[in-house]
């Protein structure tokens, strides 16, 4: 499993940052998340989260909203 630190702007749908951490670095990923969350405290539109996934590709499937616009999402089923 890998850990992905995601910094996402909800107001624009922009994925600002995606950093991958190895399984051994899980605690570091979570510390980094807290640091970023504190830094973005005045910006509630910025979402900071650590997601767990076997790969980026799998993550793009289970958490597609960080990666695809509504138009791209609907297109996947057409």
């Amino acid at each position: 499993m890998s850990f992905f630190l995601v910094v996402y702007d909800r107001s624009t749908g922009e994925l600002r940052e995606l950093t991958e951490f190895s399984e051994d670095e899980a605690a570091r990923a979570r510390r980094e998340r807290l640091k970023r969350e504190l830094a973005e405290r005045e910006h509630p539109e910025i979402e900071v989260v650590v997601l767990t996934s076997p790969s980026r590709k799998a993550l793009e499937r289970t958490h597609a909203r960080y990666f695809k616009s509504v138009s791209e999402l609907t297109a996947t089923a057409l």
């Binding site: 807290l34 504190l38 597609a64 509504v70 057409l78």
Partner: protein
């Protein structure tokens, strides 16, 4: 790290209901995340062991505060989805049922919430709340179409307000995106949810008839189910056409740039 008591958790929850998190609250929320991290990691490992490709996440500060304010009676220590994992697969509802059985067989303590039978404002999936290391973790099991619907709503909720997830109108409901207003788009999403449900249920019915047909033939009987099967196939085709038409309408209105997200 000091272990947070349930009482401390609930006090933190009460504070977050009425005011924005302070730096100290965010530190405490970091500790809350740590409390659930071990349980979440164990759950994602079990799911990976089943040859699944799960995604896992702790609730973000925003969604946690949102839920606390939406559910003022819910103590933070009792919240079931602070940590969650998700599995998405191309599968029928019967396969979804079997996958849920495979997952629950790996846990001693669990509860299943079938949101296909009791959808939440159009949201459909099966949720399993397992208890691991003394903490609840919610596992969402979704078919590809159930997930597609949920991802679209989540994405829109970011820009049009999270209230759309609970049946409330979007912000600026009359704002037009090509041929649809935001409100019409949200209404279209509810139609999409029903269309997905209808297609998935028709597939279940067809599979049941197929099985019955095979069983009867194996016993040397003439099933005489051709008419029923043809009717269900025609029904399924009609429902698939409606689903596609709804998707095309939403896709046409959502060209990047016209919808903020």
């Amino acid at each position: 790290m000091t272990q947070l008591s349930n009482r401390q958790l609930d006090r933190l929850g009460d504070r977050l209901r009425i005011s924005d998190p302070t730096a100290e609250d965010l530190e405490l929320l970091g500790q809350v995340g740590e409390l659930y991290a071990g349980a979440l990691d164990e759950v994602t490992r079990v799911l990976a062991d089943l040859d699944l490709e799960p995604g896992g996440r702790p609730k973000t500060v925003g969604t946690l505060v949102d839920k606390l304010r939406r559910m003022p009676e819910l103590p933070l220590s009792k919240m079931q989805d602070i940590a969650g994992a998700r599995v998405v697969a191309e599968m029928t509802r019967e396969e979804q049922d079997r996958l849920v059985e495979r997952i629950t067989a790996r846990f001693d303590s669990y509860r299943v919430k079938d949101r296909r039978i009791e959808p939440s404002f159009g949201y459909r999936a099966v949720h399993i709340i397992v208890r691991v290391q003394g903490r609840p973790v919610e596992i969402q099991v979704r078919t590809r179409l159930q997930d597609l619907w949920a991802q679209i709503v989540e994405r829109l909720a970011d820009a049009w307000g999270r209230q759309i997830r609970y049946g409330e109108p979007p912000s600026e409901p009359d704002l037009r995106l090509r041929e649809l207003t935001r409100q019409q788009f949200v209404d279209g999403l509810m139609q999409l949810s029903s269309a997905v449900d209808e297609v998935e249920r028709a597939k279940v019915l067809l599979a049941e008839l197929d099985r019955l047909d095979e069983e009867l033939r194996a016993r040397g009987e003439e099933p005489e189910l051709d008419e029923e099967m043809a009717a269900v196939r025609a029904q399924l085709e009609g429902r698939e056409r409606r689903l596609r038409a709804t998707l095309e309408r939403l896709h046409g209105a959502s060209t990047r740039g016209t919808l903020a997200p």
